[in-house]
């Protein structure tokens, strides 16, 4: 069997306003229980790839805490494991702090693992993808590089700024930015399979062209000289590429047709446990259409929400269409609508907090409002 290692590329992650002020997208809370990176990690684990490196761009503290020893994702076997790859040299030098420099800095990881293939995936695209199927298709294609894409039918609203592929006979013939001017696009999911030799060669080429080139840049630049196999992914994928899209993607999970595509019995989403007790619903709780994590205590009205761990919602409080992070407290009588309340924040009764679905209101970690 071919040897495959995974790389989770956090360099392509984007800024989510206050949410990423002190943490990378990878460790932003998702659905009250997960970190965004749990989906990519679980995909590798469920695909039988147990040697995974995480290309960390910045602000690693909360991610390191989340990852612990990788135990939660089954990466603790004595073969394989999790490697946190950080480019100390360029940590404070934005132009140089890209995925290619990170791979070069941490080349020992690949040299030691000696894989036949490397699968590279981002954290900020929420998907349940079986990489072993992608690798099998890659092998069959005879190509050195595979790019994964998905046919998106509302590309005028989602994945704006992502790349789309022009595909002919299963081969990538063009890579263009999605400017949102068409509904149907074959959107790149920033997920690649490389023969290891081809990856090392591509990195060298990039350095020869420009020290600022990242993986995306060189694939686009060198497309004419390479045969890149295009793999169409037909499962669920959505992108978190802005604060607003984080809000939308999260609340989309309240629709059964979305959540059932992701939460399948044969594809567990792993995360680390916090040993929180069950959620307690008190006598005046009125909760409908919501995702609720363990440890919450609810005595108010909650509708169309994602409620995180250890959240308290007081009596008579009304929370609608909102995301409340771990440990936040909503005092009795407070009103919240279309908002994201970050970790350990305290919402009191002073002012109603109302955003809009398009522009949700944000309360920072630990703030009192």
């Amino acid at each position: 069997m071919a040897k495959v290692v995974g790389l989770i590329n956090l360099h392509s992650d984007v800024d989510l306003k206050g949410l990423t002020e002190r943490r990378p997208v990878a460790s932003v809370s998702f659905l009250g229980r997960y970190g965004v990176i749990d989906f990519a990690l679980s995909n590798f684990s469920n695909s039988g790839i147990d040697n995974v490196g995480i290309l960390i761009k910045e602000k690693p503290r909360s991610l390191l805490k989340h990852m612990s020893n990788g135990n939660a994702w089954n990466f603790n076997s004595k073969r394989g494991g999790i490697s946190l790859l950080y480019d100390e040299k360029y940590a404070n030098n934005n132009m140089y702090n890209h995925d290619i420099n990170n791979i070069i800095e941490n080349i020992a990881f690949l040299e030691k693992a000696k894989p036949d293939y490397v699968v590279i995936a981002p954290a900020h695209i929420i998907t349940t993808m079986d990489y072993s199927e992608v690798v099998a298709a890659h092998q069959k294609s005879g190509a050195q590089i595979t790019m994964v894409y998905k046919k998106i039918k509302d590309a005028d609203k989602k994945f704006i700024g992502a790349d789309y592929l022009k595909v002919k006979d299963g081969v990538v013939t063009g890579i263009e930015p999605n400017k949102g001017n068409a509904k149907n696009r074959d959107i790149s999911l920033e997920t690649y399979v490389f023969n290891t030799d081809a990856l090392l060669k591509t990195i060298k080429e990039a350095q020869n062209v420009s020290a600022f080139f990242n993986l995306k840049d060189i694939l686009k630049y060198a497309l004419d000289e390479k045969k890149i196999h295009a793999y169409q992914f037909k499962g669920f994928a959505d992108i978190i590429d802005s604060f607003e899209s984080y809000f939308r993607v999260s609340l989309d999970f309240l629709h059964l047709e979305v959540s059932t595509q992701v939460f399948k019995t044969n594809w567990p989403i792993y995360t680390n446990t916090n040993d929180t007790p069950p959620t307690k619903y008190l006598k005046d709780a009125v909760v409908t259409n919501s995702f609720v994590a363990n440890g919450a205590i609810i005595d108010g009205t909650v509708d169309d929400c994602v409620i995180g761990r250890d959240v308290k919602i007081g009596k008579g409080a009304v929370v609608k269409n909102s995301i409340i992070f771990t440990g936040a407290e909503v005092k009795p009588g407070a009103v919240i609508e279309n908002a994201v309340i970050d970790k350990d924040a305290l919402v009191q009764k002073f002012k109603e907090l109302k955003g809009t679905p398009e522009a949700p209101l944000y309360v920072k970690e630990g703030d009192k409002v």
Binding site: F263, P278, T288
Partner: protein
């Protein structure tokens, strides 16, 4: 260097009064409180009290319990100098295959395990009780008194006292007499089955007890009376707080219901220093559907609720269909309540399905027990 304190949890009980709930598992492995098993409480208490070496003595239906305890990872007991070790009754050299004949015999049969730890003190616990307790504080009391044995006691009412082993004490809490289920109790200090022994004394008395043909090999009936007769220093240590023996279907139901009121158990760890650790089930967060109503209840991850739930405790991966009604009930992991079904005052065992439209125990006088298993 030896360990200061090693804990031994007696977890071999058949729990036959729990009926079908213990048909396939030992009592300590019975589910409790929405996401726990009973044994999570003593094991978490050990971890939180700074005890890093715990033996778990198993006998009845020990497979599921043994694999649940594993090496103690769930309670953080799997470091280089810590461990939870499952100690099943087993075949041994010279004596051959034997069962644990009583609480004291169970420890006696594992004397080599204790010798290897070389402890100064040994804490004996039961795997069937729901409570939070700092054993380190009890050890301090044991050391301060220079005791040979300290027994944790709970101050119960005079009516209840006849159901327990009662410690009759002097003003300084030294024990002068032990009475098992006395008809006319002289004191209300009930033994919780939690003992700290100075190991040298424990070892001596276990060895002596092994040779007694007429002994029940029981701490309450044999070891404590023998130590009292020899004038050893026995002290009571009074525990204040929530403590419950969940020995029957009724008491298990009641203990679950206690969590819905503001019990002293403080599962929500508002004091933030005494978490009860447990297994994580990898389930998605709980989903409360558009037509659901959930009041005065505990609900755990993995649940999907589309019906009406009140006064109830829902464990992992319970599913309640549209129009279904759950009142004052305990639904164990994986229970499926189909559309329009109604369940009143019941314990529904793991994996059971309540069929669409079925009405269970509407009278709600006694606690009903629904299970795929049977046991008389």
């Amino acid at each position: 260097m030896g360990k200061e304190l090693v804990a031994m949890i007696l977890a071999g009980g058949r729990g036959s009064r729990l009926k079908a709930l213990t048909a396939k598992v030992a009592k300590p492995a019975v589910h409790f409180g929405g996401r726990y098993r009973i044994i999570d409480f003593p094991l978490s208490n050990c971890a939180n009290s700074g005890i890093d070496t715990v033996g778990v003595l198993t006998q009845y239906e020990s497979v599921e319990l043994g694999s649940y305890v594993g090496s103690g990872t769930k309670w953080g007991l799997d470091g280089n100098s810590s461990a939870a070790t499952v100690l099943p009754a087993r075949e041994r050299d010279e004596v051959g295959a034997t069962w644990y004949a009583g609480t004291a015999d169970a420890i006696a049969q594992n004397i080599e395990f204790l010798d290897a730890q070389d402890p100064e003190y040994v804490l004996i616990l039961s795997g069937d009780h729901i409570y939070k307790m700092d054993y380190a504080d009890m050890l301090n009391a044991h050391k301060e008194k220079g005791a040979d044995l300290t027994v944790a006691v709970l101050n119960v009412s005079m009516e209840e006292a006849s159901r327990f082993g009662i410690m009759n004490t002097n003003d300084d809490l030294s024990i002068y007499e032990f009475e098992e289920k006395p008809e006319h109790p002289k004191s209300t200090l009930a033994s919780m089955g939690i003992y700290i022994f100075t190991y040298k004394q424990l070892r001596k008395y276990l060895k002596a007890d092994e040779k007694k043909k007429d002994s029940h090999h029981d701490f309450g009936m044999d070891i404590i009376p023998a130590m009292l007769a020899d004038g050893k220093k026995l002290y009571a240590y009074e525990f204040k707080g929530y403590w419950k023996d969940v020995g029957t279907v009724d008491s298990l139901w009641q203990a679950n219901m206690d969590l819905l009121s503001d019990s002293d158990l403080d599962l929500y760890n508002i004091k933030k220093d005494w978490k009860i650790y447990s297994e994580d089930t990898l389930a998605k967060p709980q989903v409360i559907g558009p037509k659901a109503s959930v009041k005065n209840s505990l609900v755990t991850q993995g649940c999907t609720v589309n019906g009406d739930v009140s006064g109830s405790v829902l464990f992992n991966n319970v599913s309640v269909g549209e129009g279904a009604k759950i009142v004052d009930s305990v639904l164990m992991p994986g229970v499926l309540v189909e559309e329009g079904a109604q369940v009143y005052k019941a314990i529904v065992d793991e994996g059971y399905t309540v069929k669409a439209g079925e009405v269970v125990n509407k009278e709600a006088k006694e606690v009903a027990l629904l299970s795929n298993n049977t046991r008389d």
